[in-house]
Structures are given as C-alpha cells and as structure tokens.
Symmetry: C2
Subunit: 311 residues, 2 copies
C-alpha cells in the first residue's frame, strides 16, 4: 500500500478495531504500565491522556519500574514485535509476575506474550496507530461504538479535504521554519505525536510542549530568543477550557508571537484527541512532499537498528 | 542575594536539607502523585527518575487523575505557594481524601496544607531546587547523608571551576545556535531541566529529548533537516550503560551530527542526576551573560500571572 493510502486508511482501522478488546478483569489490578517506543510508544501516552481511573505509567526504555508485580497490568506495544527496548521491558515484567498483554503484528513479542492482539502487518508503525491504540482504549472503556462512529465521520471529512492544513505545511516550507507545537490539557501527547511526525515524515527537527507548563519556561524565550523568525508556532486546542484559552491569548499578546491555532472537532476528549492527531498526519505528509522527501522512508532508523544488532 | 549567589548556594541547600523529611508511613500508600509547575514542577520528574518502588504520577496541570483517593500520597510543590494550577490540584486532592504534603515557602499552599515543609523564601524558584527536592528524596529513601556529602563536594568543585562549561555557552552564543539537549536513562528529567534553564536564564528557545526514544523519531530529522547548522546538540550521559553508549555513537555516525558530550560524575544515580543539573545551571547562566540578558529576570512570566489574575 502506498504511504498516502496508509494515512487514509487510519479511519478504517478505527472501524476494524470496533470490537477488539482484551478479555481482562480490570478490577484486579492496582496500576497499568504501558511499554513502547516511537510510533508504538505514543499509544501509552494517549492512554494516559484519556484514562485515569488507575495510575498509568508509560515506559520508553529497556527497564521497568521496581513496583511492577502481580498487581500490575502490563501492556507491551510494538508494531514489529521486535523492538529491543520493548522486548527487554516485557521480559522483565513477565519475570515480576505482572499480567502481560501485547499488541503487535508478530515478531518476538507474539512469541513471548500469550495474550496478544495481532494486528495487520506491512504498515509503517506510525501509520498503524488506530490498530494499536483502539483495542486498549476499548478495554479501558474510553472508546465505544458511538465515539468510534463519530470519529470515522470526522476522519473521512478530513481525508477528503485538508487544504487548510496543507497550507500550514506550505508556510513552513516557504520560510524553512522550525515547527513548534503546543498542546492543551488533556491532549498532552498530541503535540508530541505531531513533533515525531514532523521528524519521521518530513525529516525536520521540531519540538513540542503544552499549556500551561510552557507558561513557566518557554514563555520567557518566546519574546527574546534569537532566531525568533525561524520558528513556526502551532497551537492545538479545543476552545473549551476558558482558563487555557485565556492563557493562549495572553501568551500571544505578551510575547508578540502568533500561533497558528488549530481547533479540535468532536464531542468527547477521545474523538478530539484522534482528530487532532490526524490533522498532524496530513500537515507533516504535505511538508514531506514539498521538501521532496519520501514521507514513508525511515531507512536511517532501520540502519541504526541493524548496527545495534551487530554489536 | 545576587542571582549568581543563588546558583552557588545550591550546594548549601543540599547540606541544609540533610535532615529534612516528612513524617509519613510510606507503606500505607498505593501510589504517589506529585503536582507542580515549571521550576517547582521539575521536582516531580526528578523523583520519578530516581524512585520507582511505587507508581509516581507527575501532574503539571490544574486537574488530578480520577484514581486519587485515600490510598494516594499527594505532594504539592510550589515555591511561591501561590501557583494557581498547583493550588487547584491540591484542593482537588484534599477533597478526594488523599494524604497531602506540601513543600513551599508560604502563600496559599501553606494555609491549606497542614503537613508542609516550609523552605526559605526570596529565591528564584528554579534556584531553590535543592530545598524543594531533597526533603522528598530523603522521605523516599533515595538520598542519604553519604550521597548528600558526595554531592556537596562535587558541586563545590563545579562552582569553583566551570570554564569547560562556559565554553559551551560561548559556542552557542557565537553561532546563535538553538540548543538541543539529549539525555539518557534514568536521568530523563535532566535534559528537560536544561531546556527550561535555557528558556528562563538565557531567554532562548531550546528543546530536549532522551535516548533511546529519540532514535525512533529525532534521528530521522538529524541528517536531513534544514537549518541543521543552527542547532547545537548536547548529550548528557553517564558512560555506564553500554547499550546506550553504543546508540549515542551510532546516532552520531549515521546522522553526521556531533554531540557535545557531558559526562556525569558521582557514585549513584542520585548524585549524577544533580551534578548534571548543576552543569546546566552554569551553561545557561553563562549564555545569559553573553547575550546581555539578566538571567534572573522572569518578568514576562510574572506579568502573565497578573494578567490571569485580572480575569
């Protein structure tokens, strides 16, 4: 499948995953640990944004926290099933007696975790987010058929018309700007997902932060930093939280920086989170094309993994 | 006190805090939530790096997670005691029946939390890190007198000779570079602390990430990003984790980017974490002076808080 088709296929993943969930009794666990890296690792952060009935600890590393034991629900997310950090953390969790679940297309993870949801292979991991995230969110009761249907409609609309967002890529391209993406609560992981998509799709350095934390540090740089004209500021918001909206507007006034405001659509946090994520998929895809870079290509990451395997 | 004296005073805060701890029975709690913003909020991230016997969830927001209840140990950190996000989250935690502790120099937080450790006032919050972090780390059994003594010696050495690190500031200044700070496990919060110090002390935009997560996204941008020459890459490491060291070296080779490597000193994670933090204090202070910016001044943040109070 062409990479652009993988992006368009995101909404179909939502539909495909409608009934997918783990058969697990949540009541019996004190905490949830989600392990993964990069395009798979973002799943843990998304879960943390949307679910807080139990402590959720996200691991992007080889090692697991000491507290992991048989009261822990441990979810390993690795699209390939061979991510070395995730394999390492999962083996540790198994040893500690945690209840271990996995979402993967195969690989070693499928072999070591009995309780796995196997998803279609041959996608770029970052383009398989629906397959990876929805089963966990279904299991936790965050997503349901109504929300998934609403999201499907919104994503279809977006796929058929994203000119407005392609223009953002155009502005970034024309000024060779460095994208800075700001998010708002509770969509903390969305600005980071955009950053990683700028990296992997468009091959540009980007950075992300969130309100209101950025008001305690970034704000001091926004007015006086050198290279100020080189940054392109995007702010992802929902227009609903009046205190945060106030912060966005005061920050722009005081620092004389204009944010490109992108407003979420949807009736719930879940729907809005995924809508905002998919807008970023298109902006970063468009930037890749403008830069004449193959948005699918992540050969450097694959090369790095091979170099690591040698040693 | 002059701001440079506040930085030099960091080591004295270590000594001052030697016996400070909360009188609390850790056994009775299932999880720990630490709430704070900016220069105070980093304390939660530092605790999370160094303590993992229980799930630690860090809040940089107005709201607390649903799971907070009487099995939660909730620690509010606000240097001024008047940070609106922290007051809001603390009031919610009190309502939910959590055991609430606070570290503050006064303000509203002192009034609403009986069980507070009151620390000296009149510092910049980011220059009071020792006062804020050590009592919690003592309480959790992470720090002890031996380590605090070792840290004191290392910080004294650093304060009396930081020419090597001032040179980093000089290189950044001369090229008007955008600092990018990479960290390694388990010092995840240190690269972020550096970023915030670049923002608040030197008034420049900066961004941070950590190994090995950055190998799954940033790496794709490092080779091909435009504006590549404008970035200055710093990598904070400890030289101990062979897999991570390998990653650092392969990443540099594949992307043709040179990292300014800064190696931690100290015999434990705790000592190395605070040593690396303090190196960043000096680099960012030096950059402020070179840029002719007052490193202490954060008037824009104060102005923003006043604007918010009006509304």
């Amino acid at each position: 499948m062409e990479y652009i088709e993988e992006i368009r296929q995101f909404k179909e993943q939502i539909k495909f995953s409608e009934d997918k969930k783990f058969d697990v009794n949540l009541e019996s666990f004190k905490n949830i640990v989600i392990s993964g890296m990069g395009g798979s690792g973002i799943v843990g952060n998304i879960v943390k944004d949307l679910y807080s009935n139990k402590p959720v600890v996200v691991i992007n590393d080889y090692n697991i926290p000491n507290f992991v034991d048989n009261s822990t629900l441990f979810v390993a997310v690795s699209y390939s099933g061979n991510t070395e950090e995730t394999i390492s953390s999962t083996e540790q969790a198994i040893k500690k007696g945690a209840k271990v679940l996995a979402i993967t297309s195969g690989g070693k993870l499928k072999e070591i975790v009995k309780d796995s949801i196997i998803i279609p292979s041959s996608f770029q991991p970052r383009a398989a987010l629906g397959y990876m995230a929805i089963p966990i969110l279904n299991t936790l009761g965050v997503s349901d058929k109504n929300q998934l249907n609403e999201l499907y409609e919104l994503l279809s609309e977006l796929d058929s018309n994203h000119d407005e967002f392609d223009n953002i890529a155009k502005e970034i391209f024309e000024g060779k700007k460095i994208p800075v993406i700001y998010g708002v609560p509770p969509y903390f992981s969305v600005s980071y997902r955009w950053k990683t998509q700028f990296n992997e799709n468009a091959k540009v350095i980007a950075y992300s932060s969130n309100f209101s934390e950025l008001n305690h540090n970034d704000t001091m740089a926004l007015k006086e930093t050198y290279r100020k004209r080189l940054f392109y500021f995007i702010c992802l918001h929902d227009g609903l939280d009046q205190r945060i909206e106030k912060r966005i507007s005061i920050t722009q006034n005081l620092t004389k920086v204009n944010f490109k405001l992108i407003k979420a659509k949807g009736s719930t946090f879940f729907v809005r989170e995924f809508y905002l994520i998919h807008v970023g998929d298109w902006v970063t895809y468009s930037l890749a094309l403008l830069r004449n870079k193959d948005p699918e290509n992540v050969r450097l990451i694959e090369k790095l993994k091979k170099e690591l395997e040698k040693s």
